[in-house]
């Protein structure tokens, strides 16, 4: 077993060796290096053929038409293109957008920008399990609402929104639905024939493809229009200009093809490991699972270890690579806004660790992690004055703490 153990698959994944092998054939003089937009020679034709194949693989995983796939540089660009693109195109129809407080920053910050441009945005509060209440969503919809943007799987707590039900609601009202699927593609089945989703964002590097590569699904029936954000040579049917990065696209296509072929078996295996980790932590005092346990992607376990601060725990867990909702691990010095939005106290947000498992996680690694976490949490609690107080029966929430920050 190699240390440190990688348990941060929601941050990024290694490129699958099969994907890297395929990508390497689209770079050098001996490979297919042509510009796919070159129509006048065989170099261009070969590259275009590779692009078409990759587009087919991405479309197949989500049961869409290949013509509905627009290549981008990643899910952040896809989210920007979808939200700004729809807002700008349909602004005469209405200027109201609905999203949720637990969305990725690529969605929230894009919405903030639109507010500065004069749009009106409603940020829904999720329930304590991380899911959006459909009644609250319905209540937020207005005659001037043009777009709802909600993520499929949350990057921090792994909860799966019911985008089927959400789509039925928005479609019935003629409102467009954008879904950020960066964390769900290849992990949760997606069928865009049956889901009333109008735009969907994808990333390659979350599912064993290369970084710097993504796609946006833009529905054709009924047709969705977006205003381009990147102007130039009119690539991607005018929606996103820029020479296509053949090797990156081929990599994304191969990653999506593999995900389609292996998702069912992989999910079962990863879920088994995730459950083994959670069962292995049982019996520890004051541990809290963040996010719904059932409507949850297989590889995610987000746990707060009360009375232990997240960054010091990450230091103690240096044999494993995980992330924390603690303020000290973020640039802003604010604890996780996702955990705060689901009603977790600052203390519990500071004490959270996100374990995300994936394709190369082994049983041995999970068992090592369980032992390490149990040992280190116990050690840090011995150091914690809050743990002392908890053990003495003091209610920490009732103490008047001197404001410090």
């Amino acid at each position: 077993m190699r240390l440190p153990i990688y348990l941060d698959y929601s941050a990024t994944t290694p490129v699958d060796a099969r994907v890297a092998e395929k990508m390497s054939k689209f770079l050098t003089i001996d490979g297919v290096f042509g510009n796919p937009a070159s129509r006048s020679h065989a170099f261009g034709w070969a590259a275009e053929e590779a692009i078409d194949e990759a587009r087919g693989h991405v479309a197949a995983l989500i049961n869409a038409d290949p013509k509905e796939i627009v290549w981008t540089s990643g899910a952040t660009e896809s989210n920007n293109l979808a939200i700004k693109g729809v807002a700008h195109f349909y602004q005469k129809k209405g200027k109201h957008i609905v999203t949720c407080k637990t969305e990725h920053k690529a969605v929230l910050d894009t919405c903030r920008q639109l507010e500065r441009e004069g749009f009106d945005v409603t940020y829904l509060d999720p329930e304590t399990n991380g899911l959006v209440d459909l009644n609250k969503l319905e209540a937020a919809l207005r005659p001037d609402t043009v777009l709802v943007s909600l993520m499929h799987v949350n990057n921090e707590i792994g909860v799966i929104q019911d985008i089927g039900a959400i789509g039925a609601m928005t479609r019935a009202r003629g409102i467009l639905l954008h879904v950020d699927a960066a964390q769900s593609a290849g992990k949760v089945p997606i069928d865009l024939e049956t889901l009333a989703v109008d735009l969907m964002s994808f990333s390659a590097h979350k599912i064993y493809g290369p970084k710097g590569m993504g796609a946006l699904y833009v529905r054709r029936k009924p047709r969705v229009r977006i205003e381009p954000q990147m102007h130039g040579g009119g690539h991607e049917r005018g929606m996103r200009s820029g020479t296509l990065a053949t090797h990156q696209i081929v990599g994304m296509g191969e990653a999506f093809r593999i995900a389609g072929a292996e998702m069912a078996a992989e999910n079962e295996r990863v879920l088994g490991l995730r459950n083994r980790l959670w069962v292995g932590l049982q019996g520890m005092e004051e541990i809290h699972l963040n996010g719904d346990m059932h409507a949850r992607v297989a590889g995610n376990l987000n746990v707060s270890f009360n009375y232990v601060e997240g960054e010091s725990l990450i230091m103690a867990l240096k044999d494993i690579a995980v992330s924390s909702g603690s303020a000290c691990t973020s640039a802003s010095l604010e604890p996780s806004y996702v955990l705060r939005a689901i009603g977790r106290s600052d203390e519990l947000a500071h004490s959270s660790i996100r374990f995300t498992l994936g394709r190369y996680t082994t049983t041995e690694e999970v068992d090592y992690t369980i032992k390490l976490v149990r040992d280190k949490v116990a050690k840090l609690r011995e150091l914690s004055p809050l743990w002392d107080m908890y053990k003495e029966g003091v209610d920490i929430s009732k103490i008047q703490w001197a404001a410090h920050h």
């Binding site: 997240g310 960054e311 230091m315 600052d346 500071h350 150091l383 809050l386 743990w387 703490w401 001197a402």
Partner: protein
Amino acid sequence: MAYSDKVLDHYENPRNVGSFTKDDPSVGTGMVGAPACGDVMRLQIKVNDQGVIEDARFKTYGCGSAIASSSLLTEWVKGKTLDQAREIKNTDIATELALPPVKIHCSVLAEDAIKAAIDDFKSKQHVDAKKTA
């Protein structure tokens, strides 16, 4: 985050972890910070009849720098008079541990902790003096 070797050493081998009985009149307790901010330090000093800090204990909830700052502080205050201990500045701690700018608040908290512990000890002495009078 790249920590200095000194922070890592104090973090991995914290000195003087523990507690004294709070009610002991020779003990001063300072608890500073707030759980919501991600750090709470509890520093205790044991003071002899000559007003010298004989021993110190701490417990800290917080990041590695907060733990290291309080561990270092317990080493520094031992053998000092209360007035000398009050002179310890957060900048001394930050310099010794080579804390990055984003972690300076940990050293500020440590300075607050020793001041709070001294004040607590003195207020106890005051109450005792009243009782015996």
